[in-house]
Symmetry: C2
Amino acid sequence: MNKKNTASSEAKEQGRLQMADIARLAGVSTSTVSRALNKSPLIGEETRLRIEALAKSLNYSINVGAQNLRLRQNRTVAVVVPFDSSSRQHLSDPFFLGIIGSIADALTDRGYDMLLTRVDAEELDAASQIYDTGRAIGVILIGQWRHHDQLNQMAARKVPIVVWGAQIPQQLYVTVGSDNVAGGRLACSHLLQQGRRRIAFFGDVQLPEVAHRYQGYCQALTAAGVAIDESLVLPAAFTEEGARLAVETLQSRVSSFDAVFACSDLLAMTAINLFRQAGLRVPEDVAVVGYDDIALARYFHPPLSTVQQPIAAAGEALVKAVLRLADYEPTGPELLPTELIVRQST
Amino acid sequence: MNKKNTASSEAKEQGRLQMADIARLAGVSTSTVSRALNKSPLIGEETRLRIEALAKSLNYSINVGAQNLRLRQNRTVAVVVPFDSSSRQHLSDPFFLGIIGSIADALTDRGYDMLLTRVDAEELDAASQIYDTGRAIGVILIGQWRHHDQLNQMAARKVPIVVWGAQIPQQLYVTVGSDNVAGGRLACSHLLQQGRRRIAFFGDVQLPEVAHRYQGYCQALTAAGVAIDESLVLPAAFTEEGARLAVETLQSRVSSFDAVFACSDLLAMTAINLFRQAGLRVPEDVAVVGYDDIALARYFHPPLSTVQQPIAAAGEALVKAVLRLADYEPTGPELLPTELIVRQST
DNA sequence: CTGAAAGCGCTAACAG
DNA sequence: CTGTTAGCGCTTTCAG
């Protein structure tokens, strides 16, 4: 075979044509094809139409990689989901998956691509690599985390990163999150209004978001003049096992309880099932409020009272924030409203 | 400001350095930096270490876009989730989300990036665009679909695409899916063994996968000598509303039934709750088998019997297949095994 | 309105 | 072992 093949005919052999091929076929220069396909006003209507038709018929589209290089641009945003290498938290929480979906929507609406990456929570700067290598113009970080320092370092390096989570003191990076304090207060006040006084809290207070919900829980109790009983605070992880442990501890070690505020719907649902297996009635013996308002909540038995997180708004806000950062525009943290949805588990 | 700035110093001003900057700082040529960072054996240990350290300290990483262009390579795979513009199916099914997670894992393991895109089910060739523009070397399509023809056209054009779903006749594109016929048979046989004879089927038989499950259901009934009653077959969509409608129809129009085989766990769970609201006991009055075995299934009340789909294997198989296609290796459809998980809803 | 030519950030012969 | 040089596929001045 002729080794003097031009790049173009090589490419054609590979079944992948490029602008030069279209140009040759149309009898014009690549400049003209480029301008036509980019709808430059410099090109006459007829020429443009002819070239567009040719490209369409050949399924040719401009190579985005080359275009980006030349234009020094990039329309890709990375979404990073840290996973615990230990607890193998396998991207299963419907709430996080819902957020990912809403980010995908928000990005698509704006003509951006979404790169989804899972990184070991211990190797969080893999997230900044994605930016350093130019694969994405910014990073959205989703998921439970306790890696405040690493995030601050990235922000200090000016990596455009926005984190779904709680705003905490001395934080250099931008967060978008729902108002967890208000959410916790809402849930707990509701329980108090139902006449409950021994309200357990299920959640790992190490996580900033959970800490805020706990804060709201305490505020509500205090406001109602109910003393906080530390033994009612169970550090449940966001897993089925976490719920099981919390329920067992609650039943074995706590003298009395009449309600649970669980920091996720999954936790709440699992807890309810475990209570029921243990012969307790929900909500009669124990009222349960969840958090997130995942799709299944309203079809659960009993339909779950829960604090709704604004999923669609979350995607929008995260995307807006990361695009601003990528544009070097100053951007602050954002707090989204939460709402209590009362159903029949309370 | 000096307009004669070099590209390098410009870039530095933008906070984004490039290989030339590292080269200058290290007092070598870009070739040397390139080779060092790519661990070429041509570079001496000491030089390499020095350059690596420099790069690390400056947070420099090779620009993947430029590298890809030069190397004519690409390590990105697109995952496309079609959505119904009408039913606003907003990526909520835990099973699909689980598959996405497992694809992300499989891709990450192999050093590939994942581009997640949502496209209108009616504009499915947006999926091939992603390939035509060179953004991805292949496409994995996830989700319910009835767009056989469009998929065949893409396959005919040699777009490396693999679809999660059922293998159906005259299909040019590659599918990876679980053995839906076996799954349906498993579920239905189990119900028959429990002494049930009036087994309803919940699922939209228009969808190829569901059609296969229905086929398995029929096989089991026939094998047991039970006549198929068309009125027991309810075309439920994969939504809460679908379940509600099916349950209502079942209760109002069907004389008797003692079991349900639902084509997703979500459907099964919603149905169970509706049955219970209607005063029916599960499994005593009506036994229910679901499909998928999502995380919540075992913590549901009652714990849900269901047909397990091999999620982790699915991600692996899909990724393997699409990478083979992208490599022009011949690849056939793949059928993954399913397994019946018996719990307490039957 | 169109083409020739230079170059985006990187790699790989090819010659030291 | 290292640098020079040419170009990956595209866009865009700058001259026609």
